[in-house]
Amino acid sequence: MRKAVILFTLATLGGCGGSLQKVHKSAYIGGAVTKSVVEETHKLWSEQLNGRADDCESSSESRAEFDECLGPFAHNDDVVIALAFYNKVAELLFRVLADPDATKEQILDVAARVIGAAEALFALMPNSGAPEKIKSILGK
């Protein structure tokens, strides 16, 4: 997964390290595509979580049993925090891209932070298909 995200980063940001305008465009596209993958990945996670929660509720007799049955979905609170953090950084990217005085270095720095936040989020949602989606975007 990490390799796929790094590939994605290079394809969207590293390959266009030219003028400020080019960096601005590629950071915007990279941010928009990353957001789309985050949304789709989380949608799948949420569907799986809700299905598991319903099954576990009926088969469990205590809170501990319920949490054990949930498996990785028991830690959805971490996903909430990671998503909130991702959105804060994405908001920062929006602000820097909308700022006419922002430098190329500032844009690249925030764009890299967005990718890092997305990577941390994907790591919390195993089997959510993020690497496959990224590969399909890259045509690999």
Binding site: A32, E39, N50, N76, V80
Partner: protein, 65 residues
Amino acid sequence: MGALIGELIVDIVSGIKNATRESIAAAMRASADKVERGDLVADDALERANKDQSKLDAIRARFGE
């Protein structure tokens, strides 16, 4: 720019395999005159995640300590 971004996102959302390097490059060639907050921030996912967490908390509360 907006139309190209929208087209690209629709491709991804519907799981179409055609969102390739070429379509990204085409979008990059377009002008990014206006940056849209909604293109970058995953508000819907956070709202869904909070709703999921509320559901888990409610079930846990029914079980008690």
